[in-house]
């Protein structure tokens, strides 16, 4: 060890710059990888961390009347905590859109004993105050309104409340206009921002208490709109839901009560979040693999140089083991320094996580340490660097033991045979032959680096092309419904779906129309619920996206969405027993299809059945809607106007009724969130590849100075010397492109196919033509630009001095 210490001291003294550059390369790669892994963990755990902090309500209970006595429900043995709120849409804030209105709480429990909030700024409201509100972070950012700012509420008069509309100009309410002060920026599980949404403002329970006549209305059947609903936390958690359900039914036998399992919704959200986390993890792994190649070759070159130098000490009694350890010691120190810097970098980078929409549920925004990832990261980075260095040392040792005969390159031999100019000949040798003795430079790492660089960049851009294609084409998510409109809810139609459908069916921009009823079926012995849509067959049927099999075309057949198939543990061809209002039915699963994103289902949940199958399962419907798909050339706005006009013309009592684009699935937003990730990865890989090729060119000139000097003595001009380095650089780029382009395209498509299948999204082979077209000249130009400085150095070598000292 004394010798290794002595050698290390010399190395640090002489080569601190090279080791510093190596440490920075390790740090750059390590930062990206650790930030990616830590970010993925943070993304994946955001919801569970939020839930752990906020004591979330496990269920939300919605009623369609104001006669449920919530105080009785509070006393149920299953209930641990309960808070009530208004499903109130009949008030507004001056100057703010309607979709920022949060449901006003009607008791002091909300956000106190249930859904205890995370307060980012300011404080929680005083529940007794009638002039305080809290807002969510997205609201605060979007409307630039934070703690201390005020908003003005516009409340209906009791009369306006009764009829659900304002009597002032443009339908404005004419009731009280209390000034409300924002006292805090908070979030909880239920009262949180939504993907793509504008955020919420929640007024204190004191507001509903003071303005009860304007917000709640009379406690009688005359109140048609503002029903109190409740958030409930159960003793015994979700397992107590059936008992609670039974007790509600027994206590309020005539009430229409809908109980939503909030945790189910969180689980769905969690599943969606997993996609982003997986993308980040894939990003980190891709960066790690690239770093292994690209930083690895810098390590290999450093160790090879040190090994060649240490060979001088072999006759003085240095063992091969000592040689290896000494050659690796400096690199290990650089690796450790790089690993520590990586942790600092990853900590600083943690401020950007969680990415995209997941940020809305992050309870601890800002910089964050992840001790598990950071400590493991330091260990893994150091081990990888040391293992890479040891392998390089062993390789150098083995090469030194071999006879001095150099490995000849076929390209260089061919260049010689065809009488290629000297710079081309020598440049080809420098690029493809390692040389011998102390001037030997391993060429495989440089070649591998060039190939890995091109491969990585193209794979990243190809993957990115797949992501962008899916975001820009909703049909990849099965969203073939361009416009839709509700014509009924809870078994009651307020418009005739058939008339609306007939009115729009013949419009030239319309390609498909579906009169769709929605019901929720369950599977016996499972908590899984299945949202079923009816599907109209015929010449103008919706072009539903099938991933496998076919749509139902007979009674007792069903096509199910991927997540539902998984939940029910069935496959295409199996039978599944589902229960609607009328009892269980055996259905044959005919296909795996994507669904329209709906209020009760995501695009990968639910199933299609024929109307007759539906009728045999349900007496009623949850929602009734008309769905329309458009021809590829149709303009959405024009089609929407044409549809509204056609409905007005053919269904006069529905004049003014129109269809609107359905909400995009949250997965589209998530995919949109990660669109930039592969581009960043491509940039990172490109940077590493440039550093690797630049380093290899500079090293080659330094290590092969004697060969260059000898050639200069033999008559090679400065220009020809520059040509040697330019040829070397160009060959590296050409080889990188030859192998990297096809491999990168294949890798990018394979990764995208895997992600598309697991998302699920319809896989369309991506090709980033622009990236491919630009990569060829780009790589050649970059390689030649990188060659400028080493070429200049080679041309200016002090020939006499080198030949004297070598």
């Amino acid at each position: 060890m004394r010798f290794v210490r002595a050698w290390l001291r010399l190395e640090l003294d002489r080569r601190w710059r090279s080791l510093g550059v190596l440490a920075l390369l390790v740090a750059l790669a390590g930062t990206v990888v650790l930030a990616g892994v830590a970010g993925a963990r943070r993304e994946a755990s955001a919801i569970s961390r939020l839930q752990a902090k906020v004591k979330p309500a496990q269920i939300s209970v919605y009623t369609n009347s104001s006669t449920v006595d919530w105080d009785r429900v509070r006393k149920f043995p299953e209930v641990e905590a309960l808070s009530t709120f208004l499903l109130d849409y009949t008030y507004s804030f001056v100057g703010l859109p309607e979709d920022v209105i949060g449901f006003p709480p009607t008791d002091a429990e909300t956000l106190t004993s249930i859904e205890t909030p995370v307060v980012f700024d300011g404080r929680m409201w005083d529940p007794s105050r009638a002039d305080e509100a809290i807002v969510t972070p997205v609201f605060a950012a979007r409307y630039d309104k934070g703690v201390g700012d005020t908003v003005v509420m516009s409340l209906p008069t009791p009369q306006e409340l009764r009829f659900g509309g304002g009597s002032g100009p443009n339908g404005a309410f004419t009731g009280p206009r209390p000034k409300i002060t924002i006292v805090g920026v908070v979030t909880s599980a239920f009262f949180s921002d939504e993907p793509g949404g504008p955020g919420f403002i929640q007024v204190s329970p004191g507001v509903a208490a003071k303005y009860a006549a304007n917000m709640i209305g009379p406690d009688s059947s005359a109140n048609l709109f503002n029903y109190e609903s409740a958030l409930v936390r159960l003793r015994g958690g979700e397992s107590a839901i059936p008992a609670f359900q039974a007790r509600m039914k027994a206590t309020f036998p005539h009430e229409k009560v809908e109980i939503n399992d909030n945790l189910d919704q969180f689980r769905e959200a969690q599943q969606n979040i997993r996609f982003l986390a997986r993308c980040l993890l894939a990003f980190a792994i891709a960066a790690l693999i690239a770093a292994l190649f690209l930083v690895g070759q810098a390590v290999a070159r450093y160790v090879s140089a040190a090994s060649a130098e240490l060979r001088v000490l072999r006759p003085t009694g240095m063992t091969p083991q000592q040689s290896s350890i000494a050659a690796v010691a400096g690199v290990a120190i650089a690796g450790l320094a790089g690993a520590l810097l990586s942790v600092v970098g990853a900590y600083l980078a943690s401020t950007i996580f969680p990415l995209g929409n997941i940020a809305i549920v992050e309870p601890d925004p800002g910089r964050q340490t992840d001790p598990t990832v950071f400590l493991a990261g330091i260990a893994v980075i150091v081990v990888l660097v040391v293992l890479g260095a040891l392998a390089s040392a062993a390789f150098a040792l083995r090469a030194a033991r071999r006879d001095a005969a150099t490995r000849r390159s076929a390209v260089a031999r061919t260049a010689a045979r065809v009488g290629a100019p000297v710079p081309v000949l020598v440049g080809a040798r420098f690029a493809l032959e390692p040389g011998v003795g102390s001037s030997a430079v391993p060429v495989r790492p440089a070649l591998t680096g060039a190939v890995a660089g091109v491969l990585g960049v193209l794979a990243a851009f190809t993957f990115s092309n797949g992501v962008s294609d899916s975001v820009d084409h909703p049909e990849r998510f099965g969203q073939i419904v361009a416009l839709e409109g509700f014509v009924g809810a809870d078994g009651e139609d307020f418009l005739s779906a058939a008339k609306i459908a007939d009115a729009v069916r013949d419009l030239p921009s319309v390609s498909g129309v579906n009169d769709s009823r929605q019901g929720i079926a369950t599977k016996a012995g499972s908590r899984a619920t299945v949202v079923l849509y009816t599907y109209d067959t015929g010449s103008d049927a919706l072009p539903v996206v099938m991933l496998d099999g076919r749509l139902p075309n007979a009674p007792n057949e069903i096509a199910l969405a991927p997540n539902t198939l998984d939940q029910l543990h069935v496959s295409v061809g199996d039978h599944v027993e589902l229960t609607g209002d009328t009892g269980p039915r055996q259905l044959l699963v005919t296909g795996r299809s994507l669904m329209p994103n709906g209020p009760r289902n995501g695009y990968a949940d639910g199933g299609w059945v024929l109307p007759e199958t539906y009728d045999s399962m349900f007496r009623s419907f949850r929602f009734h809607l008309v769905q329309v798909s458009l021809t590829p050339s149709a303009d959405l706005d024009q089609a929407s106007h044409a549809i509204t006009a056609a409905i007005a013309a053919k269904v006069p009592h529905a004049a003014g009724y129109g269809l609107r684009p359905p909400d995009r699935p949250s997965e589209v937003y998530e995919m949109d969130d990660v669109r930039w990730l592969p581009v960043v990865l491509g940039g990172f890989l490109g940077l590493l590849a440039l550093a690797a090729v630049g380093h290899s060119l500079a090293t080659a000139v330094r290590r092969r100075a004697r060969e260059v000097a000898v050639l200069r003595v033999l008559g090679m001009t400065r220009g020809q010397t520059r040509g040697v380095v330019v040829t070397q650089a160009s060959l590296l780029a050409i080889i990188g492109l030859l192998f990297g382009v096809p491999l990168g395209l294949a890798l990018g498509r394979t990764v995208w196919r895997t992600v598309a299948h697991s998302t699920p999204v319809v896989y369309v082979p991506p090709t980033d033509v622009l990236a491919m077209v630009l990569l060829v000249p780009g790589a050649l130009i970059a390689a030649n630009l990188l060659a400028v400085w080493p070429a200049r150095r080679a041309a200016r070598l002090r020939v006499a001095e080198i030949l004297r000292t070598e």
Binding site: R2, F3, A6, W7, L10, R14, E309, V312, L313, R314, P315, T316, G317, M318, T319, P320, Q321, Q322, D403, T805
Partner: protein, 250 residues
């Protein structure tokens, strides 16, 4: 697997009457593109402790191969090689490395110094390899640099030294662990005549102090400085003469 080295060998002591070098029937053939090169074809040689032997012969006769075989830097195809009473043929690299630390110092025609490190460190590193602590190694290096007239060049890198100075530095490095045997491969070959004389004088002084030396040289004048001259021809010992009254040995 590394074989163990006896305590006597590890410390560099040599039992009385034991020849410093004994080579018996050594053969070594290299593969080449056109035909195999038979560098050594049955060489027998014995060198006593304290002898100064010059090995001569035309280019390609096997001089350097013989030196490398004795140093354990090259393997033999056949025959045996003993140094300080220990067989060195057939040993693994670790054993040979540790053996060289105490028994063999080597001087090369082109110095083989570490270009990027100071003259002092060029000597200190092998001393540490030989088991000395850093301070002890530095003291020993300083002593040798002074002895060889390089005391004022301790912190300079080899590139700024003259050829003669670099070869003296290489000799100092070879001597740092007080080896049983000093091997020199054309030590004056890269030097001008003054440098050559300088090195030869140094070898004489070392020989006067009891150092066993085997020196490969082309030069008759340089070889004349040794007290025994061996001539190789086509991989075999063609003549072996000692001083004026040359005694033929093979």
């Amino acid at each position: 697997m590394t074989e163990s080295i006896s305590a006597a060998v590890a410390t560099g002591t040599l039992a009385e009457g034991t020849p410093a070098v004994r080579v018996r029937g050594v053969r070594r053939t290299f593969t080449a593109e056109l035909a195999p090169v038979r560098a050594l074809r049955g060489v027998d040689l014995e060198v006593s402790a304290g002898e100064f032997v010059a090995v001569m012969g035309p280019s390609g006769c096997g001089k350097s191969t013989l030196l490398n075989v004795v140093a354990g830097l090259d393997r033999v195809d056949d025959g045996t090689v003993e140094v300080a009473g220990e067989r060195v043929d057939g040993r693994d690299e670790n054993w040979l490395a540790k053996f060289r630390r105490h028994h063999i110092g080597i001087v090369f025609q082109f110095f083989n110094l570490l270009d990027g490190v100071s003259a002092m460190d060029n000597i200190v590193l092998p001393a540490i390899l030989g088991g000395m602590r850093r301070r002890q190694a530095e003291a020993r290096a300083r002593e040798l640099l002074d002895l060889l007239g390089l005391g004022d060049r301790a912190q300079q890198v080899p590139a700024v030294l003259s050829g003669g100075q670099r070869q003296r530095l290489a000799i100092a490095r070879a001597l740092v662990n007080s080896p049983t045997l000093l091997l020199a491969d054309e030590p004056t070959g890269a030097l001008d005549s003054a440098g050559g004389i300088e090195v030869l004088e140094l070898f004489r002084r070392l020989h006067g102090g009891g150092q066993t030396i085997i020196m490969v040289t082309h030069s008759q004048d340089v070889a004349a400085g040794a007290d025994r001259q061996i001539v190789l021809h086509d991989g075999q010992v063609a003549s072996d003469t000692s001083g004026a009254g040359a005694e033929r040995r093979g």
